[in-house]
Symmetry: C2
């Protein structure tokens, strides 16, 4: 909470260069309560000209109360993203402090982990007090993504800070995702800091890292997201741990294997794994990763819906089935309120078919990475599939993204990943 004296001081200091943005009483209350976003509809007075960091104030009669410093977003439905309760600038020292603190939080979480985590999310936006900035580390490379104009403008500086703070040699920007569309930022990607002269083909930057005990390779310039789905690493390890205990030597199916995160972990846990993806390139990389880790996995190019149908028709059964589909709810959205019926029907079909393929006592690992599908939606869909299959199912665990991708309290949109583990009781 900003004290009156601080507010007074800052109002005086405002004679300087920091533009002021007046917001509604309702938005002011939410900011005071810790919600870090201000909708454009709540802005009463925008900054006079171009602005990067602004001071959010609430006006009560002739009085102004400073609420905090925020990044100004010139375009899109979000107008400001709170940076601090006190007056701060988006300076190198602030970036350095906050990135170092975010990394120290991960180092503490992973202390003593074996094998040591060398790939993890370093900065997770608002939850690390760095709105619109996301940084993933892969061994000696860092990949950053910015989703807001001010952070985008500071990318070169952020790259320097990452080299200095994390000791990485390479920094890549992967600003080619849909998160940029909200503020109408152009999509782009490239190498911001290189370790040396380019050694690979243009448009490609391979890195080797560890994922739940499996050596993996990712192309930081070409693969999805920042190169891999680091948010699933702890779930890969967890699913493999369950599988090792519950179904030693059993049969597993990974219907959307991508580069092999779940499949390789399950194979290392001693299961016999069939892993499919409809993208031949993904299967190629997954095969390569399996060779790197010297594990045996049966890979095949298949559309998951067709695959599940044909396995069922063939009478195949599995002790473990993993469903980690791409965000189905992105397709065919109906308004901002939630996932479309079509998306939820697709999730349900997948899960119903997976449940039918489970051997007695089998384990279903069911994921959704769509932020539009709430945990409540996801649970209702799974209940629905369970009712259709008419099989009793224990809910062993409801997991989300790994702890290096924490949600921010009071900001439900900061969470998106579900990874639930269900066990057939028969």
């Amino acid at each position: 909470m900003i004290s009156t004296s601080e507010a007074g001081r800052s109002t005086a200091a405002r004679a300087g260069a920091v533009p002021v943005v007046v917001i509604s009483a309702r938005a002011a209350l939410r900011v005071r309560q810790g919600y870090p976003l201000v909708a454009r509809l709540e802005v009463t007075t925008p900054p006079a000209g171009a602005a990067e960091v602004v001071w959010l104030v609430e006006r009560k009669g002739a009085r102004e109360q400073l609420l905090g410093s925020a990044l100004w977003c010139p375009r899109g439905p979000i107008a400001a993203r709170v940076l601090a309760r006190e007056p701060v600038a988006l300076e190198r020292e602030l970036l350095r402090q906050r990135i170092a603190a975010a990394d120290a939080r991960r180092q503490a979480l992973f202390a003593g982990a074996l094998p040591a985590r060398n790939a993890y999310r370093v900065v997770h936006g608002e939850a690390d007090l760095l709105p619109g900035l996301f940084v993933d580390r892969y061994a000696d490379a860092a990949v950053l993504q910015t989703a807001t104009a001010a952070m985008d403008a500071h990318e070169a500086e952020i790259a320097e800070v990452l080299v200095e703070t994390l000791g990485v040699a390479t920094v890549v920007c992967r600003d080619d995702g849909s998160a940029r569309d909200l503020e109408e930022l152009p999509r782009k990607k490239g190498i911001l800091r290189a370790a040396g002269p380019p050694t690979a083909a243009a448009g490609s930057l391979m890195v080797r890292f560890d994922d739940a005990g499996s050596p993996m390779e990712a192309d930081l310039l070409a693969d999805r997201k920042t190169g891999s789905f680091l948010d699933q690493q702890e779930n890969h390890a967890c699913a493999a741990d369950y599988a090792r205990r519950l179904h030693p030597g059993g049969r597993a199916l990974d219907a959307f294997c991508y580069h092999g995160g779940f499949a390789l972990a399950l194979a290392r846990a001693g299961l016999s794994v069939l892993a499919c993806d409809e993208d031949p390139q993904a299967i190629g990389r997954a095969r390569h990763n399996a060779r790197l880790g010297a594990v045996q996995v049966d890979f095949a190019v298949h559309n998951a819906f067709d695959l599940l149908r044909s396995l069922e028709a063939a009478g195949r059964r599995f002790d473990v089935v993993v469903l980690d589909p791409p965000a189905l709810a992105k397709r065919g959205l109906k308004g901002p309120g939630g996932p479309s019926g079509a998306a939820m029907r697709a999730y349900k079909e997948l899960n119903l078919r997976a449940l039918r393929l489970l051997a007695p006592g089998g384990l279903l690992v069911s994921c959704s990475c769509s932020g539009r599908v709430s945990a409540t939606d996801f649970g209702a869909m799974l209940d629905d599939a369970a009712r259709d299959v008419g099989r009793p199912l224990q809910i062993l665990e409801r997991r989300g993204a790994g702890r290096d991708h924490p949600g921010l309290c009071c900001m439900p949109e900061s969470e998106y990943l579900k990874c639930w583990l269900l066990r057939a009781v028969d």
Copy 2:
């Protein structure tokens, strides 16, 4: 799903002694979909006389379709609890098979755990296909609880099966909880099978077991629930693991310590722990448990609300605060729809005060064991407390009861425990 031929066969077999219960089409649909409870309001034709196991049927014109075998509940709002899709009797062999299968599921989950789990829930009611039966194991003793008339009538037989299946020497019944009130079953407790001649005072049966690495003692006849809160064991271990990583050598507060589950685990993780409970007897036992494990904990008898207020007034701060209150939502219920406002205000006051006591970067371990408080209610309450304290909080993990207390899919009332881990970002 029951095939027509099976249904035909069973209708023929019904010439025997099994009473038939006709239920509504709506209830029949839910039973087909795996929901294991039938409300009395959904019963069209109850059994003619006294009944233990009945056959649930749906009547469609002149046709009857068998839905499954169920335990008949002569009293209370629930009339039947589904036992199987096929015709079965509540016989020793069925009990033996299902108890053995339930125990085997736990053995698989805990395989290789160090130290070995010698106290865990063996049977968790409907989620283990044993409606109304709960069994906890403590080393060489088992404690059973029944919440439905038919299981209650079979307690002597169940005790024999537990001795035979689990190899325990002692079996205790703790039918002195409120779960029995639903079916108007009398509250009682006692020793069903004794290892030898009584060695302790009447009304007391001490057992030693391991809880998250701490040796503990419980009185299986006198302590709460079945003697301990086994559903929190995995959360004790998890909280200690976070504390060890995030705050090595730090200061912890356990405001409702009972017999020391969280406090001892935190002390073993190297933290300096202040542990309080308003019950002097609980503190006595917790002290005893600390001596057993040779760990140092600062214990005190305090009401948690007063304690949190006075610690705040004294300017004390803690790196870890644990709130594991008794079910506040039992007090002052308002209708069946959810927790009362008074209960939620009490939860919020506790959590707000705990958040104020957190040192920078501190960890809050916040629990609710009330089934009336849904995860959604609990999250809204925590958001509310976070907004009032105005401190950014990462949500590291949302945990429930241990995996030996699994929920049953489609039966939300099978889940009750929340244990969420939040980290202050400052």
